[in-house]
Amino acid sequence: MLYFTRAKTYAILALCALGIIFSLPNLAPRPNFWPGFLPWNQVHLGLDLSGGSYLLLQLDLQAVQKQDNANLVDDVRQAMRKAGLGYTGLHGDAANGAVTLHLLHPEDVAAAQTALGKLITFDQTTGGANLLVNVNNDGSVTLSVPHQAQVSRASQAVDQSITIIQRRIDGSGVLNPQIARQGADQIVVQLPGVSDPDRIRALIGTTAHMTFQLVDTTAQPGTPPPLGDIVLPMQNDPNQTMVVNASVAVDGANLQNAQASTDPQSGNWVVNFTLNSVGAREFADVTTDNVGKPFAIILDGKIISAPVIREPITGGSGQITGNYTAQQATDFALLLRAGALPAPLSIVEEQSVGPELGADAIKAGGLSLAVGFVLVLVFMATFYGLFGWFANIALVMNLFIMLAVLSVMGATLTLPGMAGILLTLGMAVDANVLINERVREEVKAGRKPLAALEAGYSRAYGTIIDSNVTTLLAHVTLFIFGSPPVRGFAVTICVGIITTLFTATVLVRLITSRWYVSRRPATLPV
C-alpha cells in the first residue's frame, strides 16, 4: 500500500503531466514556445455542437442492376448479330441478373457458346468470372451473373459514388467534408459549417448522366413514338415533350472538361464543354451527317435543349445554353466535370444544425458540466472529509486526462458526449466511495490505520473491477450499434472508465500513501 518505487511514482506523475499537456490545446491558444514535434490536437466538436449537416445517402442498387442487365442484353444482341446467329425471345431479368434467349437453329449451339463466351470477363478482386454462359442442347441459352460478381459490382458502385460525391463537394467549396461508406449501400456525408444544405442536396441528388441524342423530326406529335424512338420531357417545362432517337449518339462519359462562362454576345451564363478523343470523333460523325437537324442535350432523362446543327462540329467542344444564373451554370459544369453517378442517390436521413443552436448547446452542456462537477466535489468533501478531497484531486486530474485522451484519439465530442463526461465524473468517485467505505469498515473492525488502508484498498479492487467491466460492456454494445452522436457518448464513457481506474485507484493511493508517510496519523479521518 505505502510502498511506491521511485520509478513508479515518477511514472504516475508523468502520466498526470502528460494529461495536462495534451488537454491544453482545448483550453488555451497555442503558445509560441510550443515545440513543433509535440502534437497540438483538439477534441473535434460534433456537428450538433459546431453546426453543420449530416446526410445519409442510399444508393439505388436496383437501378444499377437494371442498367447492367440492360447493357448485357445489348451486348448479347450485338454478339449474336455479329456471329450471324438467329434467336428469339431475348429477355433480361434484372432482379436475378440473368438474360435468356432461344436459338432458332439447334445446330448453332457450339457457335453460340463461342460467340457469347467472348462476353465473359474476370473480376480483378475476386478472380472469379463476371458472367456464366449456359447453352443447352435444346437451344435455350441462359446468361447469369454469379452472386459474388453482383456483390462486388454493388460495392464498386458505392465506391464510385463516393469518389464522385467527393469531387462534387470539393468543387463546391465546402471545407473538410467527411464522406464514408456505411453498410452495403449507404454513404454518410458530414459537412461541418454547412447549416443550410440546399445546394449540396441538389449537387448530390442529381445523377448527372448526360447524353446527346438526335431528335426525330418525322414523328407526329400525339401519336405513339415510332420504333427505336422515345418520348422525353423538357427540363424547364415537364408538360412539353420531344421525340428523340433511343440510341445515344454521344455519351457524357466522354466528357473531358466543362466550365461555366458568359457568352460574349448575349451576356448569358453558359456551360462550355470539351469531349475526349473518342467523344470528339463520335460528335464529329453525327454532326457531319445531320446538319440542319435538331440535336438534343439530355440530362437524367430530361431534355435541356435541342439546338439545330448548323455545321459539322469537329473540334470536340460545344456550348450548352439555358437561362442559367451564375450559380446554376457553375454547379452544372461541376456536375459534368465530376461525372455521373452509377445510380440515383436518395437522402434517407438529414440533420442540419445552425451555428447558433450549436453554440446554445455548448453553453447549456458547459453549464451543466460545471454545476454537476461542483456538486460532486462538495458531496465528496462533505461525506468523506480528507479522503474525499483526495478523491476530488483525482477527479480534476481525471477530467484533464480524459480530455487529453479524447484529443489525442481525435475523438468527436457530441452533445450526448458531454453528458457522458458528466456521468463519468459522477461514477468516477464510486471507486473512492468503495475504498473509503471499506477502509472505514476495517477501522471499525479494530485494525490499525496502516492495516486498515492496506486491507481496504486490496479488498475493494475486486469489486471495482467487476463493477467497471459491466459498465464498459454496456457501452461497447452501444458503440457498436449507435449512430454518430450516440457513439460520441459511448466513446467518452469508455475512455472515462479507463482513465477513472487510473486516477481513482492508482493516483489516490499515491496521494494517500504520501500523506500517511508524512503524517503518521494515529487514527484515520473516516
Binding site: 445519409l56 447549416s195 442536396r201 441528388g205 436518395s346 437522402i347 434517407v348 436521413e349 440533420q351 442540419s352 444544425v353 445552425g354 447558433e356 443552436l357 446554445d360 448547446a361 447549456a364 452542456g365 453549464l367 451543466s368 454545476v371 454537476g372 456538486l375 460532486v376 458531496f379 462533505t382 461525506f383 472529509g385 478531497w389 452533445l415 450526448p416 453528458a419 458528466l422 456521468l423 459522477g426 461514477m427 464510486d430 466511495v433 468503495l434 467505505e437 469489486t463 463493477s467 467497471n468 467491466v469 459491466t470 459498465t471 460492456l473 454496456a474 457501452h475 461497447v476 454494445t477 452501444l478 457498436i480 449507435g482 449512430s483 452522436p485 450516440v486 459511448a490 479521518p525 473516516v526
Partner: protein, 323 residues
C-alpha cells in the same frame, strides 16, 4: 472541517431487515412493471424522430411567432400534417417554433416537403431563421429501431455472461431479471412523461443498465464474500447483513451520480433534459431494486443451493459470526 466527514447516510451498525420486505418489494415491482408493459401497449411510447421518421425544423422568428399565420401558410402549401409547437424557455419561447411533419413515403417526397416548408416560411414569417433541420426516412428509422433494440438485447446477454462467469448462475439470473424489471419501469416512466423514445434515450437506458448492474455487483460481491466468511449464517440473514454493510456505499455512489445528472435535467436544454430525467429515474429505481428485488431473487434462487455446496461450519467461524 476538511479532515473528518461531516455526514453519513446511515450510522454504523445499522441492521435493517430488508428481507422482511421481500414480498412487498417484489409485488410492488411486479405491479409497476406490469402496469408499464400495459402503458407500452396503450397509449404506447412517444417515438422520437429517429424511430418514427419524418421531418422536424426548428425555427426562430424575428417577431413574436404567429402560429395561426404559420399554420395557414403551411396548410396552403399542402402540408396538412404539419404540427407546430413552441420551444425554448421564457422570452425565447415566443420566437422558437418547432415544425414537425409526418414521415414521407420516399426520400424525394421528404426533400420536397422540406423545400415546401422553407418556401412557406419565407412568405408567412419573413426573416425567420432555420436553426436546425432533421429528416429521417421510413426505411432508416426502422433500421435504427432494430439496431437500438439489438444493442439493448446484446448488452443484456453480455452482462448475463459476465456475471455468470464471475459469480454463480443464481447471481446472473437475479441481476438480469432485476434489470428487465428496471427497464420495463423506465419504459413506463417514458410513456407517462412523453419523453421521446429515440437513440439518445436508448443510450440513457443502457447507461442505467450499466449503472444498475454495477450497483448489483457491489451487493452481490459482498454476499459472495460473506458466504465464505460466515459459513453457517442463514442466507436470509447473510443477505440482510451484506446490504446493510454496503448501504453507505450504495447511497454514496447513487448520490454522486444523481448530483451529476441533476444539472443536465435542469439546464441541459431540450436535447439532453429527456436523457437526464431518465437517468435520474433510473438511478432511483436501480438503487432500490438492488435492495428490494435483486437480493430477494437471489434469496429465492439460492436458499438451498448456495448453502449446500459450502463446507460444514467450523467452530471458529461461528464464533466470529456471532461476535
Amino acid at each position: 472541517m476538511f479532515m473528518k466527514p461531516l455526514f453519513r447516510f446511515v450510522p454504523d451498525g445499522t441492521r435493517i431487515r430488508f428481507m422482511n420486505g421481500r414480498f412487498a418489494g417484489l409485488i410492488t415491482s411486479a405491479v409497476l412493471s406490469t402496469a408499464s408493459i400495459g402503458l407500452f401497449f396503450y397509449p404506447g411510447l412517444n417515438l422520437g424522430l429517429d424511430f418514427k421518421g419524418g421531418v422536424v425544423l426548428q425555427i426562430n422568428t424575428p417577431q413574436k411567432a404567429d402560429f395561426a399565420g404559420l399554420r395557414t401558410a403551411l396548410a396552403k402549401a399542402g402540408l396538412t400534417d404539419a404540427s407546430l409547437q413552441s420551444f425554448g424557455t421564457g422570452e425565447a419561447a415566443n420566437h422558437g417554433v418547432l415544425i414537425s411533419l409526418e414521415s414521407r413515403e420516399t426520400a424525394g417526397q421528404t426533400q420536397t416537403a422540406i423545400t415546401e416548408v422553407e418556401t412557406a416560411l419565407a412568405s408567412a414569417a419573413p426573416g425567420a431563421k432555420i436553426l436546425s433541420t432533421q429528416a429521417i426516412g421510413a426505411s432508416v428509422s426502422s433500421q435504427l429501431f432494430t439496431q437500438g433494440l439489438e444493442a439493448l438485447g446484446l448488452s443484456f446477454v453480455m452482462i448475463l455472461g459476465y456475471i455468470w462467469f464471475r459469480f454463480e448462475w443464481q447471481f446472473a439470473v437475479g441481476a438480469v431479471a432485476t434489470l428487465l424489471l428496471d427497464t420495463t419501469k423506465t419504459i413506463g416512466f417514458m410513456v407517462l412523461t412523453r419523453i421521446p423514445f429515440d437513440l439518445v434515450t436508448i443510450a440513457a437506458i443502457l447507461t442505467i443498465i450499466g449503472y444498475s448492474t454495477n450497483d448489483k455487483v457491489v451487493v452481490y460481491d459482498r454476499v459472495r464474500e460473506n458466504l465464505r466468511k460466515y459459513k453457517s449464517m442463514p442466507l436470509r440473514e447473510l443477505i440482510d447483513l451484506s446490504i446493510n454493510e454496503t448501504l453507505n456505499r450504495t447511497l454514496g455512489t447513487s448520490g454522486t451520480v444523481f448530483l451529476a445528472a441533476l444539472p443536465l435535467a435542469l439546464f441541459g436544454g431540450s436535447a439532453l433534459s429527456g436523457f437526464a430525467w431518465i437517468m435520474l429515474f433510473g438511478i432511483v429505481v436501480g438503487t432500490s431494486s438492488s435492495i428490494f428485488i435483486a437480493a430477494p431473487i437471489l434469496l429465492f434462487l439460492g436458499e438451498h443451493r448456495l448453502r449446500r455446496s459450502s463446507t460444514p461450519p467450523k467452530p471458529g467461524s461461528v464464533a466470529k459470526a456471532t461476535k
